[in-house]
């Protein structure tokens, strides 16, 4: 007995129940190891990192891991090479060198990707068309200005060419030896008058190119000065001035709203408000009879007026559906409009396929209902547009109410 107790691990003195062995921490099976091998491990034989290294060795060691990176894309392996290049946009044939990404095909040599090695930025070298004259044109075409001698004018044209008509820079660098100080407007005036004369002379009469901006709007120095002064003024506004302006705008809006309210009150006061009428437009009756009068056709068109179609046989329900499709097509085109119409019909509990029993009365009523629903939706859209136009970004109680639900609340209000 005592031996058994010993074997079982029960304390001799007897006592509480056997202590549960300490819960073993679960050891995860390492990825490289097989299940059977892992099962052999226990406390005395833990996992040995060296065992995992066996996997690496099988794949050729650390070097083998690195190889993966180099197999590369279908185009081949990516290498970078330092290559010499010239810029086609340059005139002087300067040769520099830079790093280029290449693909190395496994069998053959290398091909440059990215447009085959052309210098990518050459295409951005846009040149401006700067007018210039030759001697003959100077004699006959270019307007003579006593203020501008040949030499100075040539200097100006050369600067314009070199600096791409950036007049602010030109004005800054303008330094004709022995010449008087010139403002930016002076330079522009001189250049554009020359350019205009040259353009006209080269193209023909003034009429043929009357639409070119150079001809239609000759340079106006005073306008340019005004413009620059205005911009400067705007730039130098103080915060106080900004605030003052905003206040004025607010006051204006308030006055506008007040004026509108007065007008509405006046209009509301004059004719007593007409009570809301049942839908009895002159054309569409509130009820349709099952029987028609003699000679009146019983089908309806998309405007719910009696329609006499071409002689033939028609299925009333199918015909009503076609008319409904025509009505929907008239609805301002958008799919959203049609969806809102369908939603409204569903809210009212009316089938979208027509009445269950397509008789003259029900088809007429159904088409009339659709027509009136479309009109109501159009009105709603106009009203929302009006509200949005009035106070952009505000959600007044009306706006929210309408957007919140298609209109069930409105039915209750009556």
């Amino acid at each position: 007995m005592a031996d058994i107790k010993d074997i079982l691990g029960v304390p001799r003195t007897g006592g509480g129940p056997v202590e549960a062995p300490k819960p073993k921490e679960k050891v995860q099976r390492p990825a490289g190891m097989s299940r059977e091998a892992f099962a052999l491990l226990d406390g005395a034989h833990p996992v040995v990192p060296a065992a995992l290294a066996a996997d690496l060795q099988a794949k050729g060691g650390l070097a083998g891991l690195k190889d993966k990176r180099k197999t590369g894309t279908p185009k081949g392996q990516v290498t970078w090479q330092s290559r010499k290049f010239t810029n086609p946009a340059r005139a002087d044939g300067l040769e520099l060198q830079h790093w280029v990404k290449c693909h190395k095909e496994l069998a053959t040599g290398m091909v440059k990707p990215v447009d085959g090695g052309e210098y990518q930025f050459a295409k951005y070298n846009k040149k401006l068309m700067v007018y210039n004259y030759n001697d003959e044109e100077w004699n006959h075409v270019v307007p003579r200005d006593p203020d501008w001698q040949r030499g100075e004018t040539d200097y100006l044209m050369d600067l314009c060419q070199r600096l791409d008509l950036r007049f602010l820079v030109i004005a800054d660098r303008y330094d004709f030896p022995g010449g008087k100080p010139r403002s930016c407007e002076d330079l522009k005036t001189r250049y554009y008058s020359i350019a205009r004369a040259l353009h006209i002379a080269r193209e023909g009469t003034e009429a043929t190119i009357a639409n070119a901006t150079l001809v239609k709007h000759p340079f106006n120095a005073q306008h340019e000065r005004n413009r620059k002064a205005a911009i400067a003024l705007l730039l130098e506004r103080t915060p106080e001035q900004d605030r003052a302006e905003l206040e004025v705008l607010e006051a204006a809006r308030g006055v506008e709203a007040q004026r509108r309210a007065e007008a509405a009150a006046r209009r509301a006061a004059q004719p007593p408000e007409p009570p809301p009428e049942a839908p009895s437009a002159a054309a569409v009756p509130a009820e349709f009879a099952e029987e028609t009068e003699a000679g009146e056709p019983s089908l309806f068109d998309a405007d719910v007026r009696p329609l006499r179609p071409r002689p033939g046989v028609y299925a009333r329900g199918a015909h009503a559906r076609e008319m409904a499709a025509q009505q929907a097509a008239r609805l301002t085109g958008t799919a959203r409009g049609q969806k809102s119409l369908d939603a409204l019909m569903a809210d009212l509990g009316v089938s979208a396929n027509g009445p269950e029993v397509p008789t003259r009365a029900t088809c007429g009523a159904w088409l009339a209902l659709r027509m009136e629903a479309i009109a109501a939706l159009e009105l709603k859209k106009r009203l929302q547009a009006r509200l949005a136009g009035d106070t952009p970004g505000s959600a007044g109680p009306e706006g929210r109410g309408k957007r919140a639900h298609k209109g069930k609340a409105r039915y209750d209000e009556g």
Binding site: P276, P279, V313, R316, E322, L348, G349, R360, R410
Partner: protein, 217 residues
């Protein structure tokens, strides 16, 4: 849904001679109310994988009356997987019975008598075998019925045809089909009421919108 012979236009009453040379009664109309329906019985214990239902497809007069004075024959186009999917029925009752397991859309072409002088009219209908989720009949007794009421409007019918049908006396009562007890009788009054209510609601909505609009302006 249906393919009509031509798109209808509001033609004047003084129509010129018809290009098809038919003598028509101007300004007249003849209306024939019909019902296209399917009636499907679940086979219950006898159902197999390929045949779970027995169903009938028919065209009948809306009040059970006969339509042979107008309709010469009815051609039912079943799903192409059926043997002989085109079924012609030339006498009352215009119905066919079949077995199957699947629901599909059918096409039914009505051919009219010769003096009607109209091209055949095609209508579409869905075969329903399974009831909607809420109803609880899976017993083989109660069938699933899907009926569609339609009114055939003959606009300016041929004079000869119109004279004949106006003087038409119904013949001796024809035997009622076995599925007659399942026929639905269609009453437009419910629709009329519902549509009127809906129109009033829309009118109220529109009036309220109009008031708001005027207040703003």
């Amino acid at each position: 849904m249906s393919a009509e012979p031509e798109a209808p236009q509001p033609a004047s009453d003084a129509a010129p001679d018809q290009p098809d040379g038919v003598v028509r009664e101007k300004g007249a109309e003849f209306v024939l109310p019909i019902v296209i329906g399917t009636c499907a019985f679940y086979l219950g214990k006898k159902a197999t994988d390929t045949q779970t239902h027995r169903w009938n497809l028919y065209v009948r007069g809306a009040n059970g009356e006969e339509i042979t004075h107008v309709v010469k024959k009815v051609v039912f186009f079943l799903h192409p997987t059926f043997h002989n999917p085109v079924r012609e029925v030339l006498q009352h009752p215009f119905e066919i019975e079949e077995h199957g397991w699947g629901e599909f859309e059918l096409s039914v072409v009505l051919h009219f008598n010769d003096d009607v002088q109209e091209a055949p009219l095609e209508l579409f209908h869905k075969l329903k075998l399974y009831a909607d989720a809420d109803s609880a009949n899976q017993g083989s007794k109660k069938p699933v019925v899907n009926e569609q009421y339609e009114e055939l409007v003959f606009s300016e019918p041929a004079t000869a045809f119109l004279d004949r049908v106006n003087g038409f006396q119904a013949g001796p009562a024809l035997p009622t089909p076995a599925i007659a007890p399942h026929f639905v009788s269609f009453e437009p009054a419910g629709d009329v009421r519902q549509l009127l209510r809906a129109r009033n609601q829309v009118a109220a909505m529109a009036a309220s919108l109009q008031r708001q609009y005027d207040q703003m302006a």
